[in-house]
């Protein structure tokens, strides 16, 4: 074949490929966050909620809100989808989904990286990550972590931020311990196998999985030494600016459903059983996970409102750890007015 023709053919193929992959979807998709009137006359507004992880009992408030009419009463038809944690932030910022659930620490970093998302309401009143190890072998003083082998998913996410905060509280750095990465979140296997002394994990998950394997555990929680805000509901700047009432309606309905689960965990468990069929395989563990999760939410009187004092202290901690540079003020990361007291 003539080389010039071959080159033209390759260029044309690349052009078509680029058009199909990148440009057409952009031109043909309707931005989810485009301004639309708040529905009336019983018409529900379709919105998408992105959750990380996978369908799980710990998302019971969202299942209750869907199944018990909290969202419908607010004029919303909510579709739940699951994505990797970083993708949740990016897709919500880009308007591909209206709402998501993300770690507060990730929101701080993403916002500092000019990703336009806002944390609008709190799901976990307590930071859910802890250092976990066999009973009697978990130091109570962070300084005593020096030299230990610690398993963690990697140098990212809330687990890493918690570990950094704990080490910093003990005057240590990651170089003072032996970090072993478990990017597939299977650090429980590493601890069970004796490859590490401690692991990072969520207080409502890994301890229960270890106990199910017959390993009694102790925890060193971040809350004890370096308070950080927990995961919450996020939305994009554009939607918050164009439809603040929609954001308020979603956050309020979610918070009321969450309060209902706190009052009556059976309600949450029943909704989760409908939404997550695999719970039938091990309902006891799922029930234990739900109860451990509820304990992290904040107890009676839960409102979903942002704890400004906790955010300020968490922001200072993140800055001290070098995870954010302080160039973006807290006011641009959160929207406490969404669930402000009446």
């Amino acid at each position: 074949m003539n080389p010039r023709r071959a080159l033209l053919g390759v260029a044309a193929a690349l052009a078509v490929l680029a058009l199909v992959v990148f440009v057409l979807p952009r031109l043909t998709s309707e931005p989810a966050a485009s301004p639309r009137a708040t529905p009336s006359n019983g018409e529900l507004r379709d919105v998408t909620l992105l959750l990380g992880f996978r369908p799980d009992v710990q998302f019971a408030p969202f299942y209750v809100a869907q199944q018990e009419g909290f969202y419908a009463d607010a004029g919303l038809e909510v579709t739940i989808e699951h994505r990797q944690a970083p993708d949740v932030l990016v897709l919500v910022a880009d308007g591909d989904a209206e709402f998501g659930v993300a770690d507060a620490t990730d929101v701080m970093i993403a916002r500092t990286s000019e990703i336009p998302v806002r944390y609008v309401s709190t799901l976990f009143g307590s930071f859910p990550v802890a250092l976990i190890g066999p009973a009697g072998e978990v130091p109570t003083d962070p300084a005593a972590l020096a030299g230990l082998r610690i398993g963690t998913p990697g140098r990212f996410g809330s687990s890493w931020h918690a570990l950094l905060a704990l080490l910093d509280a003990g005057g240590l750095t990651p170089e003072d311990v032996e970090i072993r990465a478990y990017p597939q979140f299977n650090q429980v296997d590493g601890l069970s196998n004796g490859d590490v002394d401690l692991i990072t994990g969520f207080r409502n998950n890994e301890p229960l999985r270890l106990e199910a394997r017959g390993i009694d555990v102790d925890l060193l929680t971040v809350d004890e030494v370096a308070p950080l805000p927990g995961p919450g509901v996020i939305t994009g700047d554009e939607l918050l600016a164009s439809e603040p009432e929609l954001v308020r309606a979603f956050a309020d309905a979610t918070a009321r459903a969450q309060a209902a689960v706190i009052d009556d965990p059976d309600l949450g468990f029943a909704a989760a059983q409908v939404a997550v069929p695999t719970i039938a395989e091990d309902p006891e563990t799922a029930r234990a996970v739900l109860e451990a999760t509820v304990a992290l939410w904040g107890g009676e009187g839960f409102s979903g409102r942002i704890d400004l004092d906790l955010w300020e202290r968490g922001y200072a901690t993140m800055q001290e750890l070098g995870l954010i540079d302080g160039s973006v003020p807290i006011g641009e990361m959160i929207a406490p007015e969404v669930l402000a007291p009446e």
């Binding site: 080389p3 080159l7 390759v10 260029a11 690349l14 052009a15 680029a18 058009l19 992959v21 990148f22 440009v23 979807p25 952009r26 031109l27 990797q84 944690a85 970083p86 932030l89 990016v90 910022a93 880009d94 990730d106 970093i109 993403a110 990286s113 000019e114 990703i115 990697g154 140098r155 990212f156 996410g157 890493w160 970090i179 072993r180 990465a181 478990y182 990017p183 597939q184 299977n186 296997d189 590493g190 196998n193 490859d195």
Partner: protein
């Protein structure tokens, strides 16, 4: 000169289309960074040493994983090609192992092999193994039976027939497998790092994507992997030209 010019024109067209996609599509940097943002971020990562710190580890894993996987695959391919019995016994396992998603198995392999360099070389080698082993088997089987018969009549041992006839005549096919295998070695190293590692380009992708929300840095790691893949592929092609010409 013509090849170089064609390559440069192709690269310019690719970069132009990439830029066009970002402009026409209106993508923000955190969704699809333009080439100049990736270039600028790459320059910073090079200057700070971060890119080399990660790339050097991945390069080592690729070389060791490819070498281990290729040597094992060549030996297995020769055995499979020469013995129908071995082929009948082992083929189902080899094919089944290839069908198992390595992403699911990699975290367990990481734990079984101690979670260090050995584990990553094993994972990388496993990914490399299949195409080279199959290509070698096919190549060995394709040797001219009349030439083999002639060597046998001259008193050549089975080993000599393999060394003097079957392997040389299979080289074009074996190199086809090696070309595929060397690109898979790059993927294998990244998969291995995703199963458990603290440094490497796969880790840098995770850090950029999940810790820093730095999409240009993620693209820098991806481009680096692509360049490494192209370089190793080119080395295999060079080796092929030299060996097959001789």
């Amino acid at each position: 000169v013509r090849t170089l010019l064609t390559g440069l024109l192709s690269l310019a067209a690719f970069l132009g289309l990439w830029k066009l996609a970002t402009v026409v599509g209106g993508y923000p940097v955190y969704i699809l960074p333009p080439p100049e943002a990736v270039a600028e971020r790459g320059a910073r990562a090079l200057a700070s040493g971060v890119l080399w710190d990660h790339a050097s580890v991945t390069l080592g894993e690729i070389v060791l994983g490819f070498a281990a996987g290729a040597v094992a695959a060549l030996a297995a391919g020769i055995a499979l090609g020469k013995s129908v019995l071995i082929e009948r016994v082992l083929s189902p396992y080899i094919v089944a192992a290839q069908a198992v998603p390595i992403l699911a198995l990699a975290p367990l392999l990481d734990i079984w092999f101690g979670g260090g360099l050995l584990a990553r070389v094993v994972i990388c080698g496993l990914i490399v193994f299949f195409p080279i082993a199959i290509a070698t088997m096919v190549g060995i089987r394709a040797a001219d039976p009349q030439l083999a018969e002639m060597l046998r009549s001259l008193g050549a041992s089975p080993g000599q027939i393999t060394a003097l006839l079957e392997v040389p005549s299979a080289l074009p096919v074996i190199f086809g497998g090696l070309r595929v295998g060397v690109t898979l070695a790059v993927i294998g190293a990244v998969v291995a790092e995703w199963a458990g590692a603290s440094v490497g380009l796969g880790v840098l992708i995770n850090i950029a994507n999940q810790a820093l929300f730095d999409t240009p840095l993620m693209f820098v790691a991806l481009v680096t992997l692509a360049v490494i893949g192209l370089a190793f592929y080119g080395l295999v092609v060079l080796a092929e030209r030299r060996l097959i010409r001789q």
